[in-house]
């Protein structure tokens, strides 16, 4: 594989990483909680796509049109019933709560769908673009395009609308936002809903690329943590930067190590970054440069 080919595939992967990590960053930015149930929602997004496809013949490429609004509502309901109660407590409480939610999601999926590995195969998932040495699966291009589109729409929403600005103002300074009359509770719920909706989208897109089982998403979530920490929490540019950095590290790291160790790269990077820049993260938190 030559450098150009590696570069292209790394950038395509980075788009996917950014899509699935932005939900984590948004939820952390606004609610200051770490969504440990991240993996569970990715997994449910993948299964929802698969289920609609096998049960009703619903086109998996269009599944996000259903999944995104449904996940948004699920997120809002979850925030109203559970997250709201722990949002102002010490961070460990919300971490454990969401860990429990993840366990519930994962094992409900085991009961509903069994532990068998599922995958989605449609003409697009097999098609590749080939020119010389460069081979690009079309599914990856599609996933990259949809993910990027969603992130751009999200960014426009956050910067151009009243509600989006309210969300960003809470991410910057919750008390000040409250003082200028922003309904923090309502915005919290919406931000959590958006975060979950992005995870649903991410899971749906992932199902086109990878096979999955109820344990799906654990490795990916660690990657998201790595990305969000690399790029600085709650910053849009940061998530994009972190995604590209991780995708490049993985793509080029593969040249020097066996593929079975590829997932190790993100963990090592995560631990190294967490250890090397704890002040850096704290500094970013203090600056809170906006979403």
């Amino acid at each position: 594989m030559d450098t150009l080919s590696t570069l292209i595939s790394a950038i395509l992967v980075a788009g996917l990483y950014a899509t699935m990590s932005y939900g984590l960053a948004l939820i952390y930015g606004v609610l200051k909680i770490v969504n440990l149930a991240n993996a569970g929602f990715l997994m449910i997004g993948a299964y929802a796509t698969w289920w609609m496809w096998t049960a009703f013949g619903f086109n998996p490429l269009l599944a996000p049109l259903v999944i995104v609004p449904v996940f948004f509502l699920i997120g809002i309901a979850m925030e109203r019933t559970m997250i709201q109660r722990v949002v102002d407590q010490e961070p460990i409480i919300s971490l454990l709560l969401l860990f429990g939610v993840w366990l519930v999601l994962q094992n409900v999926a085991y009961l509903l769908f069994t532990g068998d590995t599922r995958s989605i195969t449609i003409p697009l998932t097999d098609a590749v673009y080939q020119r010389g040495d460069i081979v690009i699966p079309w599914a990856r291009v599609y996933v990259f395009a949809v993910g990027t589109l969603a992130l751009v729409a999200m960014q426009l929403f956050l910067t151009r609308t009243q509600l989006g600005r309210a969300i960003r103002s809470i991410a910057q300074d919750r008390d000040a936002a409250r003082l200028v009359g922003i309904d923090v509770k309502r915005v919290n719920a919406i931000a959590f809903g958006l975060g979950i909706a992005l995870l649903g989208l991410g899971g749906s897109l992932l199902s086109l690329l990878y096979s999955f089982d109820p344990d799906f998403g654990r490795t990916l979530t660690l990657k998201s943590f790595c990305i969000v920490v690399l790029g600085g929490l709650e910053s849009f540019v940061g998530v994009a930067f972190g995604s590209i950095a991780l995708a490049l590290a993985e793509a080029f790291g593969l040249r020097y190590m066996p593929a079975s160790l590829q997932n190790l790269i993100s963990f090592v990077l995560l631990v190294v970054v967490l250890i090397a820049f704890p002040k850096g993260i704290a500094g970013l938190l203090r600056r809170r440069s906006g979403v």
């Binding site: 460990i92 709560l97 429990g100 939610v101 366990l103 660690l222 631990v271 250890i275």
Partner: protein
């Protein structure tokens, strides 16, 4: 000394005596022995997790790594011709050393960041065990033909369990325990007051890891099989977190109650419906966090407090 203060140790001593007598009184009750063995083994791990997660407030999702290091140490050395009992201190020692190696850098992180790093440590350790086939046997793991008799296993699990709870009991009334409590409440304030927070956190982690490593060693002798998925697996990591939280995180006896509940739910549900046990644990965890963060011990405490209040209120009412 009040009646309760005398009764407590007496009850504990009586319970211990009964526990020691079980394998001699009922040498053929294999199922009961097996369940009790698991309760003691898991109770020991649960209490060990509670030292760092409960007393010091540093939630670790990576404790399976220490269990795995202990279990693998025993299996590897046993395979080399060591007596399994001789590997016990090695298993504990290696787990402690490993915990210090990963703990010193990770403790620069606070709260949720530390917890996330521990997930990474757990996963990374599992991947290394999976790929370092020469030492670990890779995905197929390591097996041994025959282990110590069940009665001996039972007694050794009981011994580790007693040690873990003895240490917990000592910690809560020692200067060490006060330091950990200070770290849990406010790390910065503790540091300002002269508590060497990193040192104490690392000590607590090493102590916790050593106990879990020894438990891992006994685990290996019992199952005669270790693989990356069994000891480093996610369900092991979950078990270690969930037991103390169900029972009462940061309390002395909560982890034992948690281990009993855990073993019971696992024995009851897992046989009937795979994964129903983990679903039950997830629901329990959510319910506990939302309604009773101090677990069963906390719930019991508030029930007793309410009853005492009602009694007093009734007394006042009677006197008019």
């Amino acid at each position: 000394m009040s009646r309760v203060q005398v009764a407590g140790p007496l009850i504990a001593a009586a319970a211990l005596l009964c526990a020691v007598a079980v394998p001699f009184a009922f040498p053929h009750a294999e199922y009961v022995l097996d369940v009790l063995f698991l309760i003691f083994l898991y109770g020991a791990m649960s209490a060990a997790w509670n030292i760092i997660g409960g007393f010091a407030g540093q939630i670790s999702f990576g404790h399976a790594a220490f269990l795995g290091v202990g279990a693998y140490a025993t299996m590897i050395l046993w395979g080399e011709g060591w007596s399994p009992w001789a590997t016990l201190p090695v298993a504990g020692g290696l787990a402690a050393i490993f915990s210090i190696l990963v703990g010193v850098p990770s403790f620069r992180l606070r709260g949720p960041y530390f917890s996330i790093a521990t997930i990474g440590i757990g996963e990374a350790t599992r991947l290394v065990a999976l790929n370092w086939s020469k030492l670990t046997g890779g995905a197929s793991g390591l097996t041994m033909a025959a282990g110590p008799p069940p009665q001996i296993q039972y007694l050794s699990a009981l011994a580790v369990c007693v040690a873990a709870f003895g240490i917990s009991w000592w910690i809560v009334q020692s200067r060490f325990g006060f330091a950990l409590a200070a770290i849990k409440q406010d790390t910065d304030a503790a540091q300002t007051l002269g508590v060497d927070t990193t040192l104490f956190k690392t000590l607590a982690l090493a102590l916790s890891a050593a106990l879990v490593g020894i438990a891992g060693s006994i685990y290996a002798m019992h199952y005669l099989y270790v693989s990356p998925d069994s000891v480093f697996g996610f369900s092991t990591a979950i078990a270690l977190v969930i037991m103390p939280i169900i029972g009462g995180v940061g309390t002395v006896w909560g982890p034992l109650i948690g281990a009993v509940v855990y073993t019971f739910i696992r024995e009851q549900f897992a046989v009937k419906l795979a994964n129903a046990d983990l679903l039950a644990f997830g629901l329990l965890l959510v319910a506990i966090v939302l309604f009773e963060p101090k677990g069963i011990v906390g719930a019991w405490g508030s029930v007793m407090a309410r009853r005492a209040f009602r009694k007093r209120a009734a007394g006042v009412a009677a006197r008019g």
